[in-house]
């Protein structure tokens, strides 16, 4: 009996010290970050999702497991912010490769706009920036869930003929006329680092400086 209690106590102490140690290490780590914030929260797991990548393969939580991933959300009808973000990631990737970094994350981008950004569209678009980039499309509500989990946000803006604009929140379906008229998307533009446990690890807000991002990625992945 006493032996059993003893074993339980020892195990609790080990787990606690591991936990404290872990927190302590990550706190020290986050102070050294230049371009990112630690977002890891063991109490908030990513929801189950199942999407489709640009080769029409299933893309779900398993695709984040046992590797590092840099994830962003885009839409291809964006001439400005999204191409800049993808360009920054291709620069970032080449910096990591040039430095001989031990870990070069997979680069994945999920569309906010699966109605227009089908897997076929994404394939041509995303691989233009780097052959290895993977575009992901799929069910709008699954994407919305993921957007929410990552703390991202978007809304669609439709302009009527008279120039008046209407905003549709991301959970609101678009009316038929809006699909015909076309729409813009206001969106957050963070880049996220997903850990090998399949959970959100860190996030890079704007502006994206590829050199500083590379420093942070090396620091984060080496101290994982």
């Amino acid at each position: 009996m006493f032996k059993k209690i003893f074993i339980v106590v020892v195990m609790v102490v080990i787990v606690l010290s591991l936990y404290v140690n872990f927190n302590h290490n990550y706190k020290g780590l986050s102070k050294q970050l230049k371009a990112s914030f630690m977002l890891y929260n063991p109490d908030k797991e990513l929801s189950y999702f199942s999407l489709v990548d640009h080769n029409n393969n299933k893309f779900d939580n398993k695709n984040f497991k046992d590797k590092w991933t840099l994830l962003s959300f885009i839409y291809t009808h964006c001439p400005d912010v999204c191409p800049t973000g993808l360009m920054d990631m291709s620069i970032l990737k080449s910096i990591l490769i040039k430095r001989g970094a031990s870990i070069v994350p997979n680069i994945v981008t999920i569309t906010f706009d699966p109605i227009r950004d089908t897997p076929e569209v994404l394939k041509t678009y995303v691989t233009y920036f780097d052959k290895s980039f993977l575009g992901v499309s799929g069910n709008q509500s699954q994407i919305n869930q993921l957007v929410q989990d990552f703390g991202a946000y978007y809304e669609r803006v439709v302009y009527a003929k008279n120039g008046k604009s209407t905003v549709f929140k991301n959970d609101k379906p678009l009316p038929e006329w809006a699909l015909v008229a076309g729409y813009l998307i206001n969106h957050t533009a963070w880049i996220y680092l997903v850990g090998p446990n399949g959970q959100i690890f860190a996030g890079f807000p704007l502006p994206h400086n590829p050199l500083e991002m590379a420093d942070d990625i090396e620091l984060l992945t080496e101290n994982y």
């Binding site: 291809t76 009808h77 360009m87 302009y159 969106h187």
Partner: protein, 149 residues
């Protein structure tokens, strides 16, 4: 014969227009355009951004009212702003260029958006873009497609 002369005149005139617009710096109406460029994009990009510096050397504020280019469904004047944590790209009725000032069109800020291209643009190609200002003047620019400035 008359027909030939008139067509010759037309050709000469159009040559004149092209050579004039080929230069980035001309100052008949107080407006000069510097470093215009179209951002190279994936072959299936549904929209393309046009960027430049518009200088107003006159004593009056000038507005850019619209832009046109053949081979696109339409061109819109846009401004991207960072608001409430979001990048918002909003359609603008005009672009203001204040007297003795300039407006810089660049990624993440003011830009002209060319919507639904008929065909893909390749690096080094030129797009003819017409700008229409509220002082009655208009300019046609030969804008090069390139990766970045």
């Amino acid at each position: 014969m008359n027909k030939m002369i008139s067509s010759l005149v037309l050709i000469l005139l159009s040559l004149l227009v092209i050579t004039q617009t080929g230069a980035t710096n001309h100052d008949i109406d107080g407006i000069t355009i510097h470093n215009p460029w179209v951002r190279l994009a994936p072959s299936n990009a549904p929209v393309l951004g046009v960027f430049m510096e518009i200088h107003n050397n006159s004593n009056h504020d000038i507005r850019l009212l619209s832009a046109n280019a053949s081979g696109y469904k339409r061109l819109e004047l846009h401004k991207t702003e960072y608001k409430n944590g979001m990048m918002k790209m909003t359609k603008q009725g005009f672009m203001p260029i204040l007297a003795h000032d300039k407006l810089i069109l660049k990624p993440g800020s003011w830009h002209i958006m060319m919507i639904s291209p008929e065909s893909a643009s390749n690096e080094g190609e030129f797009v003819m873009v017409e700008l229409i200002f509220d002082n009655g003047s208009s300019k046609t620019l030969r804008v090069k497609v390139k990766k970045e400035i």
